[in-house]
Each structure stands twice: as C-alpha cells, then as structure tokens.
Symmetry: C2
Subunit: 302 residues, 2 copies
C-alpha cells in the first residue's frame, strides 16, 4: 500500500509522541520534529507508510541515544497479556469454534499498537478483548482453517510485543511443527523482537526468526537474505497488524492479514469502517477461495 497524504499529519504527531516518550529534553523534541518535517516534505508517496515509520523511529533512536525507547512499555504489555492469558485460553477452549475465537483474540491483541496511540493503557486491552469477541469479523475463518490444514510451512509475521501472547492462542490451534514466527530485526516502536517473543513464551512453542529489518512492517527490500528465503519458501503467510498489511498488501504470496483497522486511511483501503475486525485473504489465494475474498463475507461466531 502506498502512503497517502493523510498519513503525513499522523507521522508528525507520531514523531512528537515518540520522541517525548524517549526523552524529556525539549531541544531534542524540537530537533526530531524539524528533521521529520524535512523528511516528510520530500517523502516518496509510492513507499508504504512503515518506511517513513522506520526513518522517524531510527532518527529518534539516533538523536536520543536510546536503542529501545519502548522497552518498558513492551514489558508492561507483555506482562499484562500474560496475566490475561489463562482466562483467554479458557475462553478459546470452551468456545464452540476455538479457531474463530482465537482469531478474534489475536485481533484484540492488535490494539497494543503504540504507533497509533502512545497513551495506551491496560484497560484498553480488556475493552478490546470484549469488543473482539462480540463485534462482526470481516473475513472467513473457514478459509483460514482450510489454508492452514493444507500448508506445510506457515510463516507467521508478528506485529507487536504483548500482542504475541494473544497470537500464541491462535498458533496453538494449528497443527504443531508447521509454523515459524518472524519478528522485527531491531526495536522500532513497540514492535516485537526476539526478546519479546521469548518473554511471551513463543520460543518454547515454535521456531522464532527475525527479519533483519527495523521497519514497523515487512519491507522486503530491508529484510535480510535469510528472512527473504523463508518468506519465499513459505506455503502460507499469516500477517498480523497494519504495518504488515501496508507493506505486503501487494504480495503475490497466499497471505491472510489479521488486524484491526485502526485509521481512516487503512479502513478506506480495505473498504471497511475504522475499528473493523479483519481476516483478509490477499495475494495469490487459491481459486476456490477467491469468491470469499471478493465478497468480504462477514461471519459471526456461533
């Protein structure tokens, strides 16, 4: 997905939020903001939004000397999600359709996105869980079920720290031994890295790799060769969150995007309302699945 000019005020706001989280020094706040304005003035709108995110957050890390300004926020949300996990696992197990419930919970976890809101609190997480279990889900869980059943090598592209605990519930529904989870290669916003995957308990469940890149999405040109090989070899991709959607919406791989549409630009691109819960098949889906994708079929849990 390209960058829209509506993304630009949001980049500027996000840069200010992020640098304030990284340092209390007003001179650095101002310097980062001026640099971001200069970068944005010459931005290539053909690039996906996470490419600008990569530059903004790289600039903040460089100018503040802090490698991971979101480290404590990431720990806080991982801990909060781990506290919720036993109850969520019970809900999945007790549900009439555990896979559908796990998809919904994975979408609930997608609210843990500090690029969208830096003032995120644990209470938002609880609200997101209740909402995700109740609101319409746009997309076909049956399609996902069939695709997972037919795939040998599933590459799960993770999004944020904390959210990974919710993703575990989903991955646990799949046949064991087929899934690899890929995280970012370096800290950017509160996106998940290897350390966050370990903290979420994922490393005991699946192989965890990183993509070698510090973009808050999957910009293949910035990923390392090892990741690109795994990407190419996968039968099925499952990609969490807006950043992965924005960077991979034009891939020709068979891919399911699992996300909440958190801004008007992406909602317009996806043809849905802001706040919608989405399980969207993209890329080169097999012929039989095409109708479901085109219809954007809304399923409601039994």
């Amino acid at each position: 997905m390209r960058t829209f000019i509506d993304c630009i005020p949001c980049f500027v706001r996000q840069a200010l939020d992020a640098v304030r989280l990284a340092t209390d020094d007003p001179a650095v706040h101002e310097r980062v903001l001026r640099e971001v304005l200069r970068e944005a003035a010459d931005l290539d709108l053909r690039e996906p939004p996470p490419e600008m995110g990569r530059r903004i957050h790289g600039l903040i890390r460089r100018l503040t000397g802090r490698d991971d300004p979101y480290a404590s926020a990431k720990r806080r949300f991982t801990d909060a999600a781990l506290r919720l996990h036993p109850e969520l696992a019970r809900r999945v197990a007790g549900s009439a359709d555990p896979l559908a419930t796990a998809v919904r919970l994975a979408i609930a976890g997608n609210v843990i996105d500090m690029g969208v809101r830096s003032d995120l609190e644990e209470s938002h997480l609880h609200e997101a869980v209740e909402r995700a279990l109740d609101a319409p889900l746009i997309g076909s869980v049956e399609d996902l079920r069939r695709a997972v059943d037919g795939a040998e090598r599933i590459l799960f592209l993770a999004d944020n720290a904390g959210e990974l605990v919710f993703d575990r519930l989903l991955i646990e529904q799949w046949p064991p031994g087929r899934t690899t989870v890929a995280v970012r290669g370096a800290p950017v916003i509160n996106d998940a890295t290897r350390a966050d995957a370990e903290a979420a308990g994922l490393a005991d469940l699946v192989e965890v790799i990183d993509n070698g890149s510090d973009a808050p999405g999957t910009v293949l040109a910035h990923c390392d060769d090892a990741f690109r090989r795994r990407f190419a070899d996968a039968d099925l991709l499952v990609a969490k969150g807006q950043g992965n959607y924005e960077t991979l919406s034009e891939t020709d791989k068979d891919i399911f995007f699992i996300l909440q549409a958190k801004c008007p630009v992406i909602a317009r691109d996806l043809g849905c309302e802001v706040g919608s819960l989405l399980l969207r098949r993209g890329g080169r889906a097999p012929a039989g699945a095409a109708e479901t994708r085109a219809a954007g079929l809304a399923e409601k849990d039994p």
Copy 2:
C-alpha cells in the same frame, strides 16, 4: 503567545483540511502539504501560531487561485446565526443579568472556528449555545461591566464570520457610540472581513474598520498604520477568540479576551481545561481589577 511544538502537527492537519476545502485537485493538495512541511521545518517558534496560519492560508489561496475558499461556509454560518438571533436576543433580554448572558452567547459563537474543525455543522452551534449558558464561566463579568462603563473608546477585535452575529448581542449591551469593531483586512480561514460584518448587521450598529492584515489573529507588525493608531488610541480592547489571544496575550493595553479554549496548548497557557469558557482580563488592567484577574474567579449566572 509563542508557538509550541504541539501546534505543528495541528498546522499540518489544518493545511490538509483547508486545501481540500479549496480544491479537489490532489496534485495541489500534495504541493501545499509539502510546502507547509518545509515552512514548518524552519518555523520560528517565537512567533505566535496565527503567523503560521497566515502563511499556510496565503499559500493555499495562491496555489489554488481562490481568494476566499471559505466564502460559502462563512455565508452559511452567518445565515445560521442570523436565524438564531431573535431567539438569542430574547434570552439576553429575559435574563437576570443580560450582560453575563451576552458574554456567554458571544463565547458560544466562538465555536464557529473552521481552523479548529473544518467539518463544523450548524448543529454544533445549537449545542454550543446550550452549553455556554450552562457551563462555568471563568472570569469576572463585573470587571468587564466596570471597564466598559469607564471607557470612551472601546475597540472590539472580532474573530469569525457568523460569530459576529453573537458578538452583536454583547455590543448592544454597551453604551452606544463608544465601540468600533475591527475585522481582518483580507480573507483567511473563516475569519470575519468587512463583508461578513455587513452580512451580520454590525455595520448599522457600530463603526467597522479592518486591520489591513490577513493573519487569523492580530499580528500588529502586519496590520496597517490606520489600524495601529486606532489600537493605540483605544481605552479598552475586547478581543474575541484564540487567534486574538495568541497574538495579543502579551500586550500592555487593558484588554479582555473572550473565548472558548479549543485546544490543549491554549488551555495549558490559560491554565484551564479544553472547552472552558473564558473572560480573561490581560495586559495592563487598572489596579482595582488585579485581584479578580489573579484569582481567575469563576462566576455562575444567577
């Protein structure tokens, strides 16, 4: 008041809103946005926010070739306010304290600010009236009453088109023949010009002058000599809205600011909550008034 870095994301958002209102041409949207980002990158934060507003909206007028992109919105809100006027005049006349009620209604009219929200609707105006009659008013109507009674030459610095109809209710409470109303010298956002003052029926009531400037505030350095003389000669200034507060908060003239605090930056500067109704004496108030000003006394209508 200086510009804070929090103003910058808001400038960028405002520029995008405004250029979309001025033209449907996406190439012009992008060009304006890039120019605004470049200007903002080098912005002198010691200048008040309306100076950047002046540049943004001048750029939009130049690049779209439209002298007054808000002309139809201004007419719409003047018409809406004129339809409300008879009922509002009855409320003032029937009130236990007509001056206090007129101050509150003048603050209600201050919601007609398309710099703050470009999607303003007539229904917001009705809500603003009811809220302004009910919410606490921070400031002393008694101070204003005494200042007006003691002044020979009152210069009323108007803010927006449509809002002027509400201001009429206030000016009508004052001894006739003492008040001059100053509007902007050229169109900028939906700020009032001479034509808007005439449409509001103010020209039949008081002398109307313009300040010779196209800033959405009163940047004296950009105003013409004739206006600056009138400003210097006034015994009392009454200034409506955020733009006039932002540009005149450091004046040494005796001045009352009448406004609603519509953004977090100005609310912080004024020491109040966003949405507060304010009648704030500033500048060089006479000795007797100092305590009231310092106390920020909240009065509630009887």
